[in-house]
Symmetry: C2
Subunit: 218 residues, 2 copies
Amino acid sequence: MTIRVAVIEDQKDTRDMLAVLINGSEGYKCVATYENGEDAISAIPELEPDVVMVDIHLPGLTGIESVRKLKALCPEMQFIMCTSLEDPENIFNALQAGATGYLTKSTTPTKILEAIADAYNGGAPMSSQIARKVLTFFQAKEEKVNKELDKLSAREQEILDYLSKGYRYKEIASLLFINIETVRKHIHNIYEKLQVNSRTDALNKVFPKPKGLYALAI
Amino acid sequence: MTIRVAVIEDQKDTRDMLAVLINGSEGYKCVATYENGEDAISAIPELEPDVVMVDIHLPGLTGIESVRKLKALCPEMQFIMCTSLEDPENIFNALQAGATGYLTKSTTPTKILEAIADAYNGGAPMSSQIARKVLTFFQAKEEKVNKELDKLSAREQEILDYLSKGYRYKEIASLLFINIETVRKHIHNIYEKLQVNSRTDALNKVFPKPKGLYALAI
DNA sequence: AATGAAATACCACTATCGTGGTATTTTTCA
DNA sequence: TGAAAAATACCACGATAGTGGTATTTCATT
């Protein structure tokens, strides 16, 4: 069983180095190399490699954008980002775009081959330093949420939860075995604390939407 | 430099095994073991270990809840979850609670020690299989979104976008330079197509929330 | 040229929501 | 124990949202 690999990398020496490494190893074959994202996008869907190594820095279309487009066309294909940059923003964007691995350029040849096999076998190859940065992104998201949320009492949070699910006042009242007027009062207090005056505004304040979701969907 | 480790694990044999492993290794010291989360929470903030190994399955307070509380008290402390479960929900919740590592019980002693050192040094030790599951959580989105969304005409999508931002009918009307009755009509059509009858329900149908987010925040 | 979908506009009615009060009981915590 | 915070309940009013109609115009496609 041979893993078919493609490489997108603008620097000729790195590109050739990768091709030689891959072709020189049992079980791996480099089936194509590209020096920019545009060429890769027009050729890769036909070629159907198993794994694609992508440089983040590409002239024209960036590596991240290339992955986003390719992943949409070929959901089964595995993408590994290769870069010198470790900043969280790039890591996050790359992974969100559909990459499953993230290697820095200092990675040893052995580790590169391992990473390719790993991605092919359902893993997500990345150093634990990078994994930590991913986690930071995860955990950072919550903070802001709680900041608004912990202004509210437990009961208020409970009611807000029902609001978020679209329940009407009287439904909430019967679910909580309290009077509708009490529900109304709680919600009034919630709105005051959050400085809003509608259900939707309250929810948007407490559960901020992931950016770009709608823009993307259009 | 010695890394000070604490262990929270209800099964005596596993607990003892970990303690022996840690104390038998140069550079590591097991400073305490606990058989449940409650004991750990009352003792660990005083003790200030560098790294805490936490079993997910604990009697009473779960491992995840224990980490959440401890992390709030001691943000610098590193937590590694140990479990036999690899299901995405647990992984996600544990990491969101503040754990930085996630080991399965099949991990070898050497890898366990490596993981402890790794967490201590700013990494996030986890297998690449687990890393992939984390990514899946990141990437799991869209799909359903578009399915509901493309039932709607462009104008309807535009109006739904305003609804999601909390605008009132008359605000939408003046933003789009159309009559409020037209807005009302569009929204009525939107609700019909989506088979709902309130703003919140429509938004929940088109922009499904990442599950577990709110439950976590409580 | 005809059909149909989408966008526009208007009306009347009901339900629900949001505001602004007051007041009692329960819980929490200093 | 005493004060503060939270939860409960009630009322009245105006604003907004949602329902169910009809009807005209525009635009794309057959």
